[in-house]
Symmetry: D2
Subunit: 348 residues, 4 copies
């Protein structure tokens, strides 16, 4: 009953097998091998257009370098108040951009509110010397609190970005979970809605270490090969990432694992709905479930072998709680089994 | 007959198997799992003392972050003129240190000459405001040109470092190749000679992606967890590196692969010694062989399937050459076979 | 009737004369001259203890480098939401610190609320790898909205700083105006209340260009000479700053000019209190007055020769306004005359 | 007999008077005043074309920010081995560029040798990911060793810059001294020879603190207002710099002071030529004289009141010296008198 995080899982067997399959033989280093090229083309197929793809070692690297690609002197990027890039990356975006700023924007349940965004951007007039200058907007899909931007939500953010001439980034650490949640295509969820670049995450969804930055406009990536290398992110044996992505995309594995995770989360949510001792904090839409329960109850469940953690829920997110209650996060992954979920539901 | 680079090889079967063995099951993320801890302890065993170990994604990251750990305002690090950190890392050390400088020091055959080093450091008086301040010395073992610092060579560099109160770093991208070349122990080659930190590379010697920064003085690593995370180098599924290192160290695999690579290089060197059409540029000591031959001859060999590249050899390294001759680099790895070498020798 | 900003004034005649008096003769460069030393000692006299003093060219430089002096990897500094360093310095603090973050804290009328500060700091647990780490607190005295922290207000902030082991910085761009407003001593307003370093501004109060960073603990300034030089802030002819500060401090000129500015502001405030057409937005305490009036009225006054600008007042600062009203800022300086103020009051 | 440095002098009386003349009255801040605009136009007149001009506080700031304006990821700037930016700025160029590199190029007597430059640039192939990328060339006029690039020397450097598509910067800390030495015009010495930007120094030649970055192509300066502000270099009371430059340029004062300094240096040089106890190390061309003499002799002169310092002369610059001899630097300025020179010559 491990619901601690989707990065507590290892690798999907197909990913491990894919890696092993490419272990032998020589290939050009630094992403110039045949497999590397083929995998980059697969990205193009999946996104239904030419894309520029760069592998990086962590989601933090993907986010930070995406911002470096579009930064300017005094640059300010806008993200949700709870976004990973501002809450959980130890200042990496600021560090890699050489002092770029993240401006936190409000919005309910992890989604930036378009009007709040518009107001926030307007507080930084682009030609005013003193304030700092807008340089990018970033949304997280699925969000940090297990919700998903609907396509029209992304449209609305895209409209603000276009109005201010700002590049629009998507932190897709849980890209696949959002995708299958919406039942849409990668193209529809990204560039057709105005997204310019994606931190495309495979790690949380069954890979060992497979993250990529994807640009939909090659011009925006013109300098990126240098940004990428200078940031110590150019793998010499890049095929070890390519091999993972090859297996990830083959026969839609990535969609299957995402669907499975989401289904396990839905089953967990059903458990909370049926429970008298706990309740959903808000409706989950991907592979994270947030529940309210008494702290004693939580301790009891943990004592019985369930692994999960409390979550600092922003004011207004969750329904009213008693003083002895808290919000807890439950994350499912490709490796979560229905038996685990059932066992936990039985405890509930 | 692939002698292009040791990073053209994939992964040793035992490494791939080790990874697969750890694919299933849950483990704490971010390096806090049992396997992660066990592997860090293995580093301690190998180095015969307590060490602080951090996994990074590339050798460039290892070098750059080692310098960040000891940098100061106006800091200058001293490395060999041909060192990887100044020749092949696209300015990553300068970038990560926020503008630290690399001062290139001369010395024959890839090794810093201690008296040149002393002179170079003295050109930056530590308390003079205007010049910049010495902050570290870095040596590469094995060097970029396939030679190795003897233990007394490291002693001599260590003496200069101590005289100036400077931390001493070893770029060990080919640590194992140097180690077996000298027939010594990790402790003897490092901290017993005054080395304070090592970029410990496993990738070139049979891993997929296994690099680490090793500190011999925990105090020097006090801030490193934050430096490491901020640099986007904290793997969420760190066990995929731990699993590689576990297999790497088990039963001395790393020494076997290094011995094999070095032996293949020695066999290649024999080939050049026996050849009338080519000759050694200088004596190899690890897994890289540099040879002088006519450009036409090189093209002919390449046409016959041998993969290798010309090398920009600094003045004075190689014996006199004719105008139509160049220096070429041949790198062997765990994956090089004696059949390949023999085939190449036959061509010679 | 120029109330645009205190930096629209030139230099006080005594400052200009002081500069001229030191124009001839040779002196050691880079702050090593006799005058430079004497002026640094005067700072010690004024603050009643040994201080480390460094001249910089702008208040932005003073603020940014103060933070550099105490920054760490992933560092976060806490300042008021309206502070100059986060609103008006184009990201200089983030840039000079190599990616440090400013966390904006709320509090009424330009003053950080101690309990908000405490909560904000607690959101960054010092040993948690992912969030970023508190590294400093900064308060602005006088604040950006013309108010002043009382001594007990500073005590309260100092207590939060001490509890979290954080250095406490004071942006004293209008240090003298706050000082005479409180009728206290420099020592009482700073280190006796827990302030560790001050951006000490002379420019707005009658100098041409005289700003300094003052440290009360020499240990905190140990690296600062290098930080200062590397930031291109070491004046070669430092005496041109020293000469200004010499004249500034002589016979209490700086207190006189500050008292004058504050008195002019008070006279302006009286005018608003007596006016039917405008009213004070809040009570001024230094040399800035904020008033509410109809936009048409403001335009009329501007048409008649009064120079002043609208101010973006945060929600809750000012009393309720009609839709056609705005907040306007009026700044006085050493150069403001009672005739100007009277002329403006007549218009009101 | 002060020959220590031209920055030991104070301000020319006309500069001090000019400052005082502008002390009273109000003017727009941040360089938007009438005087500021007029002075920027004067720069255009002097350079015979539209220029973008930005005031900075130090020559180090001018050099560092010039490079920021043209930097790219992995950027490398090429300067002379003895250039101020690499020898005397404590790493400021590297710091402000966020890790840009300075590559030191050889050449006799302070001037970059064009063929050495070409070779150095070629060592960084612009499209090679690993090495770093050429981003600028910088020459110093007059050089650090008191020599001057002839117009055809600048042409030759300009040709290399054009061939590699690199912007060409001139560190003109002693611009006026070089200009009058060549007897040419600012236009001829700069953009007509391929110079793109100049660090234009007034401080060493009679100002208190008057340095500017001048761009000949406005497009290159497109982002510079933000670069400048973010670097804490935007003076609030910019007119205190404008007032200096106004006086500096009025009636050719700047050329007169430069001619005077150069003449004093020439007189000093005559003294060395006539002396049996000392000799010129090389021929001076501006306001710095380098002489060889016995260390005992030097100490004797210093004991008699002459102030000057030894100079680390690169191998090959000076004629052969005895073991007890050293090279010493003597710098003249607007404030040097012929009486001082004569007194020193008498001692010689």
């Amino acid at each position: 009953m491990i619901f601690a995080s989707d990065n507590w899982a290892g690798a999907h067997p197909a990913i491990a097998a894919g890696l092993t399959a490419h272990a032998s033989g020589h290939a050009r280093a630094y992403g110039n091998g045949d497999l590397d090229r083929a995998v980059r083309e697969t990205f193009g197929t999946i996104f239904e257009r030419d894309v520029a793809v760069f592998f990086v070692s962590t989601g933090t690297a993907a986010n930070a370098l995406s911002l470096v690609a579009v930064n300017k002197p005094g640059g300010v990027a806008f993200c949700h108040r709870e976004a990973h890039m501002t809450e959980d990356e130890a200042g990496a975006p600021e560090y890699f951009t050489g002092g770029g700023r993240l401006c936190r924007v409000d919005g309910p349940l992890g989604r930036i509110a378009p009007d709040e965004l518009d107001r926030a951007v307007q507080r930084y007039p682009a030609e005013f010397l003193h304030s700092g200058r807008p340089m990018a907007i970033s949304i997280t899909q699925a969000t940090e609190v297990g919700t998903v931007y609907a396509l029209e939500d992304i449209d609305a953010i895209g409209a603000v970005a276009r109005r201010h001439g700002l590049p629009l980034h998507m932190d897709g650490a849980r890209f696949a979970n959002a995708l299958v949640s919406l039942g849409t295509t990668p193209a529809e969820m990204t560039w057709k809605r105005g997204i310019d670049m994606v931190s495309f995450g495979g790690t949380k969804n069954g890979c060992w270490c497979a993250e990529a930055v994807v640009f939909f406009d090659p011009a925006m990536a013109a300098e990126f090969a240098f940004i990428h290398k200078r940031a110590a992110q150019l793998f010499s044996k890049a095929r070890f990432v390519s091999a993972q992505f090859e297996a990830y995309f083959r026969d839609g594995l990535w969609l299957q694992t995402a669907r499975h995770s989401n289904a396990m989360a839905a089953a967990l949510a059903d458990g909370f709905r049926a429970s008298a001792a706990a309740r959903l904090a808000w409706e989950p839409q991907a592979n994270e479930v947030f529940a309210i329960m008494g702290q004693e109850m939580a301790a009891r469940l943990q004592g019985l072998g369930a692994v999960f953690y409390p979550w600092h829920a922003p004011a207004g997110y969750a329904a009213a709680m008693a003083a002895d209650e808290s919000v807890y996060r439950f994350v499912t992954s490709f490796a979560t089994t229905i038996e685990e979920v059932d066992a936990f539901r039985a405890l509930l």
